[in-house]
Amino acid sequence: MFWNALTLQLGYNATLVTIGATLLGIAAGVTGTFLYLRKRALVSDAISHATLPGVGIAFMLMVLLGGDGRALSGLLFGAAVSSWIGLLCVSWLTRFTRLSEDAAIGAVLSVFFGFGIVLLTVIQTMGAGRAAGLEGFLLGSTAGMLFNDALVIAGGGALTLLAVLILRRPMTLLAFDPEYAASRGINVGRMDLVIMALALAVTVIGLKVVGLILIVAMLIIPPVTARFWTERTDHMVLISGLCGGLAAWVGAALSAFAPAMPTGPIIVLTSFALFLVSLLLAPNRGIVAVYLRHVRFQRRVHMRQGLLALAQGQPIYEGFTLRLLQRAGLSQADGVATDSGRARAAKALRDEKRWELVRADQAFESAAALYDGLRDIETVLTGDQISEIDQRIGGPQGVAT
């Protein structure tokens, strides 16, 4: 059954929703990447909440003009206008008053949302029953999606992707080095607004599918997930789009096949599951990788210190070091070095002496910069250089037993 939903064989409506949601997810992931790299992820929260008054006003205007009031394109247009005003309010408050950006975001989102709620209650009293669809914008409702609605969503998603494709270079530049971007002739303020406008487009398109409270998640979670897997912006954009699309696809399919599974929350939770997997398992930045690296580092430090202690005939009391040395066959249970242990200890002590000379000698400056107390000297110097140093140290000396 679930497979049928994933492969779009669950009827016309479910197919529409799934395709629309997937396109939306890709567009949101791609756009959100730039928002995240610019460290303004939460601006999307203000954008999405600020859509509500626009939806209300658009509905009222359309009813007053004798229309249906629920035409999706009209409502989305109203949403876009009012969230654009909200966006300008945020940037005006941060630029011209002493308020910080988070306070401006919070003020705009709560006030616009509150005003939107006031308008919704006005609508409820003005035309009973006809406002039924508007609550769907809070949490999204894909149940009654029409072909035209899906077309609007798919077309909007595709246009947003195209815009990102065209503007990706200036946006990347801006994300990493605004000053440099400005010196290359990019208008930073305007480019920032362009990034926000793209986020706004995604938000408005996604209103119908996931609702204004949860669309924020589609802009934030995929980029955060993608950041774990790569250090390159172009890869991050791709991975983020992929994560967003995948989450939306699985979420939409799951909600189509199971009852009482609202699309928006399922998409968000799928997205979060992808994030959790990345947080744990990503190479290099994931928790498991970081933990393993830490353990390996700890071992090297203990091993090194243990060998130096053996070489200088000092007793070792630290339990972990003793266990490490024993397991490697370098010492006996009572902490006395074995033959191979003595050899390794002598080598460690000699390396220490070699490093001492290397760090004192200007000629080895670049090699000395790599000294961290753990690195094997063979990885830094050539054999010839080492034997030159060894000549300065002199012949091997006995190891204290």
Binding site: G106, V224, F272
Partner: protein, 308 residues
Amino acid sequence: MSGEEFVPLSLTPMLIGVLAAVACALPGNFLVLRKQALIGDAISHVVLPGIVVAFLLTGMVAAAPMMLGAAGAALVSVVMIEAIRRLGNIEPGAAMGLTFTTLFATGVLLLEQSDTSTVHLDVEHALYGNLESLIWLDAIGWGSLLDPVALAGLPPELGRVVIALLGVCAFLWLFWRPLVLSTFDESFAQAMGVATNRLGVALVMVAALAAVAAFDAVGSIIVIAMFICPPSAARLMTNRLEHQVAWSVVFAVLSAVLGYVFAGYGPLWLGFGNAVSAAGMIATVSGVILAFTACFAPHRHRSGAPAV
């Protein structure tokens, strides 16, 4: 308007609105100064899953377990934000957005999955609150304020908001100096022996307490608006923290009273029949106040910035 009508229908909702607004605005001052304003936003979103889980566990719509559930959810969200921020090395804004949307989605999903159709528990209610319905049916006029029998019939939300407000005041009064120190100069506060991390968590928990108590009565929109708008407006009025706190209380009270009056009577003045959402109107009024201060307040520019 006569006492017979005003006291039972409008006095208690207005009072609850005012108290809730002040309880949120007080800790909001510190949250805004510490650039943690959006913590209030996050808390008010995660209150929903907390309440739903409490309902699923106890199976009843009662105040005590729900407040506990909401407070627990607030704690979970704070811990989760910190954990994601530290473990994943993610910037705080994104960690916050990730956490509260996920928890909110969980709440909505649980609500849809469970059979809550028989009880009064839905997302809209959580967002707007039901300030208008907190009426005092036992009152018959101003005289009821002295009548113990009528006083016993006061809505229980009033008592909870009062307790929350007292708790907030006590916290601020007890920890005023360390709180101020750690807000303006964290390293100096640490050097003076203030446990700044613990104090920060305590502040967030107090904010959560205020949010949960207010949420119960007035919905989450007012909570976010009152955490941020009155303190921000007050910030533009003065350079002294004591004055800022005083201004924020004034603005909070003003928003609550004016918002309630406009919502209840504004449409009547304009010739419409029905009232609009009081919670939404209070948030709107606080926004209008903020807009005024942003345009005209004496200290609206950054210090050192050229006067435009």
